[in-house]
């Protein structure tokens, strides 16, 4: 085992990117993710990498598009308002089927909002965000270790499916420090990038584009993208369960809130309540099947989110009509982060003792 390091989540993500072989970063400063560009601006020059602090989020996502079109591993990072600006480029990348990693250490809104931990951008992240009806894989780490591991995974997914991939965190997982074991990267079989522009060199012309004007071309393209999303749903769902086997109430939360929820669930167990935790790690593809199974056993689901109710819609779609779904939300803002004790109270309120 490698030595345990003590680093911030944001730094862990940047380290994961380096380990994944990413050498191109394009970004624009915004709180609370600036540790990522700060780290990479320091490390990339030593690795012959390219770091550009761009004039805007719009420019940085398009620089990513250009570098990615050349077949190199590249990334950007930002926080919610900046991600809004990047949506145009993300849509173009999804349309042109370009890999790339986007780290979103999200903050609260709408508008300028605040810098506190928030899950208000669940919809924006998993439902497309930009125009044209696309999806991108969205990974929601809940620890410093996962900021590292899932960043590496994001680069693999991006190359496997030729798609932008988002790592969705917040100031809790971004700013907190924990032990990090920089595990070596598991080797995955990745396809050749036979589509990347390189200068013809006497061979066939290559074009990276999202414009399809021929009869039926765009429809076929959309169905092909759809098939790709279905394949992701089949193969790439990740989730985690704790104490769900005999649970009479299934608590569901993602990202940083799942950490707080886990402790609350432990408190409930200590109090004799049969409560379990289901935590989606991929928000797209959403782990529908695993959730449906766990929820079917419990018969009752309580969804916790740092917003007024977004993932709860995907939970309802996943579990079907036979399962009772309730919601508890803490919209973002200074001092809004619930404590495990508060969530325990919420759990108690929603828990109904199963009849013996």
């Amino acid at each position: 085992m490698s030595k345990r390091l003590f680093v911030k989540g944001n730094e862990a993500a940047a380290m994961g990117a380096v380990e994944a072989g990413c050498r191109y970063y394009f970004g624009y400063p915004i709180t609370p993710q600036s540790d990522i560009p700060e780290y990479l601006s320091r490390e990339f020059p030593k690795l012959s990498g390219e770091f550009i602090q761009a004039e805007s989020e719009v420019a940085s996502i398009n620089m990513l598009l250009g570098a990615s079109a050349c077949g190199v591993r590249a990334m950007t990072s930002s926080s919610s308002p900046g991600i809004s600006l990047k949506q145009e480029g993300i849509s173009y990348m999804a349309g042109a089927e370009l890999p790339g990693v986007i780290i979103n250490i999200s903050r609260s809104g709408p508008g300028l909002g605040g810098i506190d931990a928030s899950q208000a951008d669940y919809f924006q992240s998993v439902k497309g965000g930009g125009h044209g009806g696309y999806h991108i894989p969205v990974l929601a780490p809940n620890s410093v270790q996962e900021m590292y591991d899932l960043t590496m995974h994001a680069f693999d997914l991006a190359d496997l499916y030729r798609t932008p991939v988002m790592l969705l965190g917040d100031s809790v997982v971004g700013q907190m420090k924990e032990a990090l074991v920089p595990n070596p990267r598991p080797v995955r079989d990745l396809p050749e990038k036979g589509w990347a522009v390189r200068g013809k060199g006497g061979a066939e012309q290559r074009v990276v584009k999202s414009l399809f004007l021929g009869d039926g071309e765009l429809e076929a393209h959309n169905w092909r993208l759809h098939a790709k999303y279905q394949q992701m749903k089949e193969k790439e769902c990740l989730s985690e369960e704790h104490d769900t086997a005999d649970a009479a109430l299934l608590v569901t939360a993602f990202g940083s809130l799942s950490r707080i929820a886990h402790t609350a669930v432990t408190m409930a167990r200590e109090a004799g309540l049969k409560v379990g935790l289901f935590r989606p790690i991929t928000l797209f593809p959403f782990p529908e099947r695993a959730l449906a199974e766990a929820a079917g056993r419990a018969g009752k689901v309580l969804v916790l989110e740092l917003n007024t109710g977004q993932m709860v819609e995907d939970v309802r779609l996943s579990v079907g009509a036979g399962v009772q779904v309730s919601f508890y939300g803490r919209p973002p803002g200074a001092g809004s982060l619930p404590s495990p004790e508060e969530l325990f109270e919420v759990i108690k309120k929603h828990y109904v003792q199963a009849p013996n």
Partner: protein, 183 residues
């Protein structure tokens, strides 16, 4: 075992460094740690708070609503967090700057430590955070003192390593006061 503590003060008092140091020490001992900072927009003068959880097993929530121990370095932090300490918990208060009487709790142990006076007595007013840390470690037993000394090397940039002996002295001074040996 599981230890949790909230350390709070204003920016510039070294609250985050104290939290970092405690975390490094726990990590050195092979424990699991989460260190969760929150601070105001200002670098100095704003509020600075960190929550540290140390556990043999999984840390769980990095956010703690009712800490078993609270260390406050200024009045605003006591006003904000004083009520949150768990019943039976401990509240270590910098009595140099904080009116201890403002904490109306009979269900927690209150330990006033004149941190600024002690630090001044040692010749460096910036050591307030180390005095606080020493008091906390003495009362909680969360980490060994030896680990703290080792952790100073990790937590401090190399150019400040010459201050390590003075820091260790401040930690010891805080511990002694907290344990009542010199009270």
């Amino acid at each position: 075992m599981r230890y949790d503590v909230v350390i709070a003060g204003f920016g510039g008092q070294g609250v985050l460094l104290a939290g970092n140091l405690l975390s490094y020490a726990a990590l050195e001992e092979g424990k699991n740690v989460s260190y969760y900072p929150s601070y105001g927009v200002e670098k100095r003068g704003g509020s600075a708070t960190c929550t540290i959880v140390i556990a043999d097993g999984a840390v769980g929530s990095p956010v703690v609503g009712h800490p078993s121990m609270l260390v406050v370095l200024n009045q605003a932090s006591l006003d904000r967090f004083g009520a949150s300490v768990r019943t039976g918990g401990v509240c270590i208060i910098n009595s140099s700057l904080v009116d201890v009487a403002t904490l109306d709790r009979k269900d927690v142990k209150i330990v006033p430590v004149p941190m600024n006076e002690i630090a001044l007595g040692l010749g460096d007013p910036r050591m307030v955070n180390m005095v606080a840390l020493g008091a906390y470690v003495a009362l909680s037993g969360a980490v060994e003192f030896a680990s703290l000394a080792g952790a100073l090397k990790e937590a401090l940039p190399e150019r400040n390593h010459r201050f390590i002996p003075a820091n260790v002295k401040a930690i010891e001074a805080g511990a002694e006061i907290a344990l009542g040996k010199k009270a």
